[in-house]
């Protein structure tokens, strides 16, 4: 288990956390390379179903980064994200996925250090949890995502 390298999907909002991640880069702060970023305009663009899809496809962790409360470029997007994440964490628990695998943080464009530290910490946390349990969804693949595709 020592050589386990978690796969992490990161959703970062363009205005704050993505810029914070860029700042960690320009400041040459080091953090583990486990997370790959999908940039959204706002954290509220992150449909909870993407998070489930990521876990289903073998993500060991999912990270969502948004602006601090009150700083959202779109006024209230981060509050919507927060509500969704809190609810989804309860659901993950019921599904047998440790809710710790889903992490949401407010990281501003000036908090490169916080982004790097959070990444380090999150990777360590997931490493201690081990790989995500294999989920057998083969019997029923009609998740909303595939439904949507079918309907189109």
């Amino acid at each position: 288990m020592n050589d386990f390298e978690p796969k992490i999907v990161c959703f970062l909002c363009k205005w704050c956390t993505y810029a914070g991640a860029d700042l960690a880069g320009t400041s040459r702060m080091k953090y583990p390379p486990n997370g790959v970023v999908i940039k959204t305009l706002c954290s509220s663009r992150v449909d909870p179903q993407y998070i489930l899809l990521a876990f289903k496809n073998g993500a060991d962790g999912v990270f969502i980064g948004g602006c601090h409360p009150g700083d959202c470029h779109y006024q209230t997007g981060n509050y919507k994200t927060q509500r969704r994440v809190i609810l989804l964490k309860k659901y993950l628990d019921q599904m047998g996925i440790n809710p710790v695998r889903l992490r949401m943080e407010w990281i501003s464009a000036s908090e490169g250090r916080k982004f790097a530290n959070t990444m380090k910490e999150f990777v360590e946390q997931i490493k201690s949890l081990g790989p995500i349990p294999k989920m057998n969804f083969t019997e029923n693949t009609s998740t909303a995502e595939s439904q949507r595709t079918q309907r189109k």
Binding site: I38, R45, D47, Y50
Partner: protein
């Protein structure tokens, strides 16, 4: 299948030292959709850009991934490059392998693996990117200004002088706002009316300005550049065209009402002119206090009016205006002094608010500018001024600083000393905030030459003993309790948004802060714009401010408005929400999530729609849509799903 070109930049050694660019090129050459891949030392340089252009031409590419630095730096550069080659700029994606890969990782193998995934997500997104064009809409070249205090007047004049039509809406019977009530203004002590009335006259005579007084904005529909506004004017019982200001009507009117202009220190009649220099210069019939419009009930004013200007049958009227931009300049009011029972306001006539004291000082005020206290007309020998009354007190009153009280209280004390040279002013203060231009000099001169006594501390209680007001307070510098006997007390009240603001907020659907002031788009870099496109903020409606700041902000808001009005069309990013008509069930969840009012309901089709101009593309509605009918252009569910799968692929 698209023909995608992938261009991997070395960024000198910045990327190449940590990411094995040759290996990347090799690995991704066979990735589905990739028609061409190469790497180069500096993609953003001229030779680098030419390399992309050549490849587009030779390999017949229709879209491009540039794996380089953050999109913040060069996305627009590379979008320009492919546009020059005849491709749509939205067919370019940037894979950020510098800031978010080579600069933050050390192990070459790991960094190369991550760069590979970053590029794959970009390719997967790009595969389903549509060619997009900026959304555009026409602009109605007129502006609306709500509120006609100094900020509204300044903004309206600036816009009108530039040649655009302005509609000004004022709730009160005259324009001028609080500034017209002031005596003299700090730090120059020039007379407020002398500097304001010329501007008021200018506004009323300006050929590009249409003025509605006694009026309020009833509804606003539409979006930036294209607002439809309904303005409701109260019934106009006195015709401004016929009224010749003879004043006969007020002589016969039997009703006395506290005069708002004099802050209740004098009386007016139910038919009245707010003050002699009022604009528009006409009388107003105050229907709430009038004995009744039936000639049997009273009817004295109409009988007396020789100009036949009074019409009891007048009705409220709705006016419709189309405008492109809206400036909100609704100003402030004082924190309700009734909330401070311990200071005895209302119980003791000689405890007055700062605005009442302005009227006592003013040459046009109830005492004709003579320093007399309200209760018995005595000349006050000692006056106590209480700064921060109701402000900077988060436990019980307002938490914020009102910004202007330090300066105007000092002005009050100075003007008092000029009128009563032997008098003694005391000022209770927490701090002296004199940050404006020449403000500190104003303070220093007063302290050294005018015998004004400053006491650092707060006042706990005020009560009456004989004909003196007893002021109990604490001197926080000496730590001793203080008791002063004064003839008069002036409370420098905190400042709140003007009393009707909460209703207007609902009409305009704008955002306010916890104190109720309108919120600017950015506290530093966009201080005169609202978050809602097409709305601009001026004056104390956005937060307490003095006259120079209100005027500066008004001119700033006018400049922003003019920039909008002078363009024929407004353009907007096309990365917005869309609706699949066949999938939408009309549940309206999206409408509630949208902070911009961009999601609307189509009653005929029974589906939700998107207003392209109002939509800012945040995507909150898309993730709330239960049927997948709402999608974001160039970041659809399908694209994000494919990106997630690319990240997690195990090749």
């Amino acid at each position: 299948m698209k023909r995608i070109g992938v261009f991997v930049c070395h960024c000198g050694v910045n990327i190449k030292d940590t990411v094995d660019v040759e290996k990347l090129t090799e690995q991704l050459a066979d990735y589905p959709g990739v028609a061409h891949i190469e790497n180069y030392m500096f993609m953003c340089s001229d030779p680098g850009q030419n390399l992309i252009k050549d490849a587009i031409k030779k390999k017949n590419l229709d879209s491009v991934v540039v794996a380089a630095c953050s999109p913040t730096l060069h996305e627009s550069t590379f979008q320009g490059v492919i546009e020059e080659s005849g491709l749509n700029p939205y067919q370019c994606e940037i894979a950020n392998i510098r800031e978010q890969c080579s600069w933050v990782h050390t192990n070459i193998e790991e960094a190369t693996r991550k760069a590979n995934l970053i590029i794959k997500t970009a390719i997967e997104k790009l595969k389903l990117n549509e060619s997009l064009f900026p959304v555009s809409a026409p602009v109605t070249k007129k502006a609306l200004v709500i509120g006609a205090g100094i900020a509204g007047i300044q903004a309206a004049l600036d816009i009108a002088d530039a040649g655009y039509e302005v509609t000004v809406v004022e709730k009160k019977p005259s324009i001028g706002g609080h500034m017209i009530q002031l005596s003299e203004t700090f730090p120059t002590l020039d007379c407020s009316q002398c500097i304001l009335t010329p501007k008021m006259v200018q506004l009323s005579k300006h050929k590009n300005i249409k003025l509605y007084v006694n009026s309020e904005v009833e509804s606003v529909e539409g979006y930036i550049g294209n607002f439809k506004v309904k303005i409701k004017r109260k019934a106009q019982y006195v015709s401004p065209d016929k009224c010749n200001l003879c004043d006969d009507c007020t002589e016969v009117c039997p009703v006395l009402v506290p005069n708002e202009q004099e802050e209740g220190l004098a009386w007016r009649k139910a038919i009245y002119i707010p003050f002699p220099q009022a604009i528009p210069a006409t009388y107003t019939l105050d229907i709430e206090n009038c004995l009744g419009l039936e000639p049997i009930a009273c009817g004295k004013c109409r009988e007396k009016c020789t100009a036949d200007a009074i019409n009891y049958d007048a009705k409220p009227k709705i006016f419709e205006e189309e405008v492109g931009a809206i400036i909100v300049a609704t100003g402030y009011d004082l924190y309700p002094v009734e909330n401070m029972a311990e200071y005895g306001y209302g119980k003791y006539p000689d405890v007055v608010t700062s605005l009442q004291f302005e009227r006592i000082l003013s040459a046009t005020g109830p005492t004709g500018g003579e320093m007399r206290r309200p209760s018995d007309g005595k000349i006050p020998e000692e006056i106590v001024f209480v700064q921060c009354s109701g402000s900077r007190d988060p436990e019980r009153h307002l938490s914020y600083c009102s910004r202007i009280c330090c300066m105007y209280t000092l002005k009050h004390a100075k003007l008092y000393k000029h009128k009563v040279p032997d008098g003694q002013p005391y000022i209770f203060y927490i701090d002296i905030r004199s940050g404006g231009k020449r403000y500190e000099e104003f303070v220093q001169q007063a302290v050294s030459e005018e015998e004004i006594l400053y006491i650092r501390g707060k006042v706990a209680r005020i009560y009456k003993e004989g004909d003196k007001m007893i002021v109990h307070g604490m001197d926080t510098l000496s730590g001793k309790k203080i008791e002063l006997k004064a003839d008069m007390v002036v409370l420098a009240m905190g400042i709140v948004p003007s009393y009707g603001t909460a209703d207007l907020v609902k009409t305009l659907k704008l955002n306010t802060d916890e104190a109720g002031f309108f919120v600017e788009a950015h506290p530093k870099l966009r201080p005169v714009e609202s978050l809602q496109a097409g709305f601009y903020l001026a004056g104390a409606a956005q937060g307490p401010k003095d006259i120079p700041d209100a005027v500066s902000q008004a001119s700033g808001a006018a400049a922003k408005t003019l920039a909008l009005l002078s363009s024929d069309k407004i353009y907007h990013s096309p990365i917005i929400a869309t609706v699949d008509k066949d999938l939408c069930s009309g549940c309206r969840i999206c409408i509630g999530t949208c902070p911009y009012g961009a999601r609307e309901f189509d009653e005929t089709e029974k589906i939700a729609t998107v207003n392209d101009i109002l939509c800012e593309g945040c995507g909150a509605c898309i993730s709330a849509c239960p049927s997948g009918a709402s999608q974001q252009k160039n970041l659809t569910d399908k694209q994000i799903s494919n990106m997630i799968k690319a990240i997690l692929s195990t090749e």
